[in-house]
Symmetry: C2
Subunit: 161 residues, 2 copies
């Protein structure tokens, strides 16, 4: 069966469960005009240790991407800056800011649904640099992309999630 | 007189005043083991609209770089996501995360003191990409780098600010 996914590793059952949760929450949030339909989670072993929505419009704050909110929440609640055993999961490909935050948190394992090449350009600020460029530019990380993309693409194609 | 600075534009009197403030605050913060000696400010016209310190250690949160904290504070307090008329000023070259946040906030004018090539590598996560690569990879922004670097370099050379 053909697949959209780029797969650097195999997903664990907990990662699959988190993925289902964030896709459903993103679809749900997109129906509410006060929320943004972008959701991220952090998985540690068999635990989903955090789930957060994009809060950019809620706070008029461009730094409040879902991945930033969940990394901040989990590191603060665990009182440690490094989440090196964790996986970051997002309904939309992490932008350059979120990808950097992921690496500052020591995370090396990433799963996301909608890919940059499928969505509105507004979600990225350095579009000539792609995720493979970042992957080659620092310490290694692995990712799975495009999984369940078809369920969410209508949210991100026109940037009106 | 030789200068370390790369200068894309001329600083305004308010930008110079903000720069002096953040350098002094960074030197002050570095003497306190509970604070990080990295400080950022945002200038709008003749006003310094925000100053913030790095709060990574204070909150065990790797997203709390000084630039992130000040962009979040100013956008939230002004209740607008775009600061397109503003200048971001930092005591240390903004990392990849902060540079992206700057552009998501619409800021196109940047001034910083200590440059990447002069400081500990730990402040950056994609070291093969330099600021000129980011400058070529998206919408234009201009910067002044290396100004007052000599006053602060001892804080960042060994990453123990």
């Amino acid at each position: 069966m053909p697949t959209l996914a780029q797969e650097d590793f195999e997903m664990t059952p907990t990662e699959k469960r988190a993925l289902r949760l964030i896709v459903d929450q993103a679809l749900d949030a997109s129906k509410d005009k006060n929320r943004n339909g972008i959701v991220a989670a952090i998985v540690s072993g068999e635990d989903i240790v955090g789930i957060a929505e994009n809060e950019v419009n809620a706070f008029s704050d461009p730094t409040k991407h879902a991945e930033m909110v969940v990394i901040a929440a989990v590191t603060q609640s665990l009182d440690r800056k490094q989440l090196e055993e964790c996986t970051l999961i997002s309904s939309l490909q992490p932008c350059e800011m979120c990808l950097s935050a992921m690496r500052f948190a020591g995370i090396r394992r990433l799963i996301f649904c909608a890919r940059q090449e499928s969505v509105d350009p507004k979600y990225f600020v350095f579009p000539k640099l792609r995720i493979r460029d970042f992957q080659r530019a620092g310490e290694p990380f692995a990712y799975i992309s495009g999984v369940l993309e078809n369920e969410l693409l209508h949210l991100y194609m026109d940037g009106d999630e």
